[in-house]
C-alpha cells in the first residue's frame, strides 16, 4: 500500500480532475453546453470549507454540499433552459466567472483573494477513491441501456428524440443537475484532501483543465475523464518536466487532439478494439483494399 501513500498528492489531483471531467461530460453528453462545472466546484468547495472549519464531520458536510448543489442547479435550470449551445456556453461560463469574482469580494466566507487555509483534511484516501469509483459506476450506468440510447439520441437530434417519446427537457435538466452535483463533489474532495481553496483554484484555468481532461481522455465515453485525469494529473509527476514549456506542450497536445482525435484516448482505444475485432471476424475472401 505504500505506493498509494507515496503518491497521495498525485492521486488527489487525479481524483479531482476526474470528477471535474465527469461533471462536464455528464452535461455535454446530453447536449447541454454547460461550463458551469467550475462554478459548482467553487460553491461546493467554499461551502464544504466553511462547514469543515466549523467542526462538521465529513459526511454531514458532503450531504449538505450535494443537496445545496441540487438546489442551486434546479434554481438555475429554468433560466438556462431557454438558451441553446453558444448562448448556454456563454451563460454558464459567465456563471463560473461570476462565482470566482464573488469569491474575491465576499471575503467573510471565502477569505477573499487569499482564499481559505487550514481546512481540516478529513477525507482519507480510500474514501476519496471510493467516491470517485461511485461516480464512475453511476456514469457508466447512465450510458448503457435505454437511458444511454435516449441521451445519445437527444444529443444528436432533439426534435427526433421528442417525436420518439424522449422527454428532452427533463433529461437535460437532469443532466445539468447531475453535472452540478459531481462538480460540487469535486469541490468537496479538493477541500477535504488538500486543505486549501482560493480564487486561483476556481477560475478559467480550471475550466481549461477540465476541458483538457475531456479532450485528452475522450468527451463522450465513460472511461474518458478517468483516462484524461490520469494523464494530466499523473504524467507530470513521472515525466521530467520541460520546465515552463509544460503549459505550451499541454496546449499544443489539446489543440492537436481536439482537431484530429476529438474522441480522445477513449476513442483511440475503441477504434483499435473495433479494428481488432473486425480483423478477427473477417473472412479470407473479404480481405481486400
Amino acid at each position: 500500500m505504500s505506493w498509494f501513500a507515496a503518491n497521495a498528492p498525485m492521486l488527489r489531483t487525479i481524483s479531482v480532475l476526474a470528477l471535474l471531467g465527469y461533471s462536464v461530460q455528464i452535461a455535454l453528453r446530453a447536449g447541454v453546453f454547460s461550463f458551469a462545472t467550475v462554478g459548482f466546484y467553487a460553491t461546493g468547495g467554499y461551502l464544504a470549507a466553511n462547514l469543515l472549519k466549523g467542526g462538521w464531520g465529513r459526511y454531514p458536510t458532503l450531504l449538505v454540499v450535494l443537496v445545496a448543489a441540487v438546489l442551486l442547479a434546479l434554481l438555475l435550470a429554468p433560466a438556462l433552459s431557454r438558451l441553446r449551445f453558444l448562448y448556454l456556453a456563454m451563460a454558464t461560463l459567465a456563471f463560473t466567472l461570476f462565482v470566482q469574482s464573488l469569491a474575491v469580494s465576499w471575503a467573510t466566507y471565502t477569505g477573499g483573494a487569499q482564499g481559505l487555509f487550514a481546512i481540516p483534511r478529513v477525507l482519507p484516501q480510500p474514501e476519496m477513491l471510493a467516491l470517485v469509483a461511485v461516480v464512475i459506476v453511476l456514469v457508466w450506468a447512465t450510458q448503457r441501456g435505454a437511458t444511454g440510447r435516449a441521451i445519445t439520441a437527444l444529443r444528436h437530434d432533439a426534435l427526433l428524440s421528442a417525436s420518439a417519446g424522449v422527454d428532452v427537457a427533463r433529461r437535460q435538466v437532469n443532466a445539468f443537475v447531475g453535472s452540478a452535483v459531481v462538480g460540487a463533489l469535486a469541490g468537496f474532495v479538493q477541500v477535504s484532501t488538500f486543505g486549501v481553496f482560493g480564487p486561483a483554484d476556481i477560475g478559467f484555468s480550471v475550466v481549461v483543465d477540465a476541458l483538457t481532461v475531456l479532450v485528452v481522455g475522450g468527451a463522450m465515453a465513460w472511461p474518458g475523464p478517468l483516462l484524461g485525469a490520469v494523464l494530466l494529473g499523473g504524467l507530470p509527476a513521472y515525466v521530467s518536466s520541460a520546465g515552463d514549456w509544460n503549459l505550451v506542450v499541454q496546449a499544443i497536445v489539446v489543440l492537436v487532439l481536439v482537431v484530429y482525435r476529438p474522441d480522445g484516448l477513449a476513442g483511440v482505444v475503441a477504434q483499435a478494439a473495433r479494428g481488432l475485432a473486425a480483423r478477427r471476424t473477417r473472412r479470407p475472401a473479404e480481405v481486400s483494399g
Partner: protein, 249 residues
C-alpha cells in the same frame, strides 16, 4: 371513426399566412394523402399537427383529444407518430437501437432508478425489424445503409411505437424508382393491416394508387379533397400542379 380532425386551422407567422383555414379529417384505417405545390402549406400543417408550430386559430383533434397545449414528446404516447422529410436517424446508434429508442420511450417520463415499465419493448422492436425485412442489418449503423433502407428504418422506428396514426412527411423524396416502389409496397402492406396513415407527398402517382382519400392544398387552403382519381383529375387541381412539383418518371 375519426382519428384526426383539423378544423379551420390557421398558422400565421409575421405577415405570412402559411396555413389559412384548413379543415379535413382522417378516418381510422384510411391512408389519406396530402399534396400541394411548394409553398402550399403542407409542411406547416404537418408542424401544426406535430406541435412544433403553434396554431393562430382553429383546432386539431386527435382521437377525440384537443391537441392544444400538448407537448411534442407526449404525442407519441397518445399514438401520433411521424417520420421526417429528411431522414433523421441517430448515427451513433445501430439500426436496432434506433428502433428500440422509439419502442422504449413511451413519453411518460421515467423517474431515476425506476425500471422501464415497458419491458416488452425489445421484442416489439425486434418484431418490427423482422416485419420490415431489416433483421439482417440490425447491427449496422444508418450511414452505411442505402437510402431506401434508411427510410425503412425510419418507418420501423415509427411503427415500434404502435401508433394510432402514422404521419409520413414526403417518404419517397429524393428516391429513385426502385426505392419508391419499395416504400410504396410497404405502405400498401401497412394499409392492408389497417394502420391509419397521413402521407404528405409530391409524388401524386404513388398516392393515387395508395390512398383512400386525397387532400389538395394550395395557398394555405384546401383546394379540393375526395376520392383520389377524381380529385386529381379536376382542372383546378391540375392547374395548381402545373409549375409545381411534377411526378418523377
Amino acid at each position: 371513426m375519426t382519428v384526426l380532425e383539423l378544423s379551420e386551422v390557421k398558422v400565421h407567422f409575421g405577415g405570412v399566412r402559411a396555413v389559412d383555414g384548413v379543415s379535413f379529417t382522417v378516418e381510422r384505417g384510411h391512408l389519406v394523402g396530402m399534396v400541394g405545390p411548394n409553398g402550399s402549406g403542407k409542411s406547416t400543417t404537418v408542424n401544426a399537427i406535430t406541435r412544433t408550430a403553434e396554431l393562430t386559430a382553429g383546432r386539431i383533434t386527435f382521437d377525440g383529444q384537443d391537441l392544444r397545449g400538448v407537448a411534442p414528446h407526449r404525442l407519441r404516447r397518445i399514438g401520433l407518430v411521424r417520420t421526417f422529410q429528411g431522414i433523421r436517424l441517430v448515427p451513433d446508434l445501430s439500426v436496432r437501437d434506433n428502433v428500440r429508442l422509439a419502442a422504449e420511450n413511451d413519453g411518460t417520463g421515467r423517474r431515476w432508478f425506476r425500471r422501464n415499465e415497458r419491458r416488452d419493448s425489445d421484442p416489439v422492436a425486434d418484431a418490427v425489424l423482422e416485419r420490415l425485412g431489416l433483421s439482417e442489418v440490425r447491427a449496422e449503423h444508418p450511414e452505411a445503409l442505402p437510402y431506401g433502407t434508411q427510410r425503412r428504418v425510419e418507418i420501423a422506428r415509427a411503427l415500434a411505437t404502435e401508433p394510432t396514426l402514422l404521419l409520413l412527411d414526403e417518404p419517397v423524396a429524393g428516391m429513385n424508382r426502385a426505392e419508391r416502389g419499395e416504400i410504396a409496397r410497404i405502405l400498401a402492406e401497412l394499409r392492408a393491416d389497417g394502420l391509419t396513415m397521413l402521407v404528405i407527398e409530391h409524388d401524386l402517382r404513388m398516392l393515387l394508387d395508395l390512398s383512400d382519400h386525397l387532400v389538395v392544398l394550395d395557398f394555405g387552403r384546401v383546394l379540393a379533397e375526395g376520392e383520389p382519381q377524381a380529385t386529381a383529375a379536376r382542372p383546378d387541381v391540375r392547374r395548381a400542379y402545373l409549375g409545381g412539383a411534377r411526378e418523377h418518371a
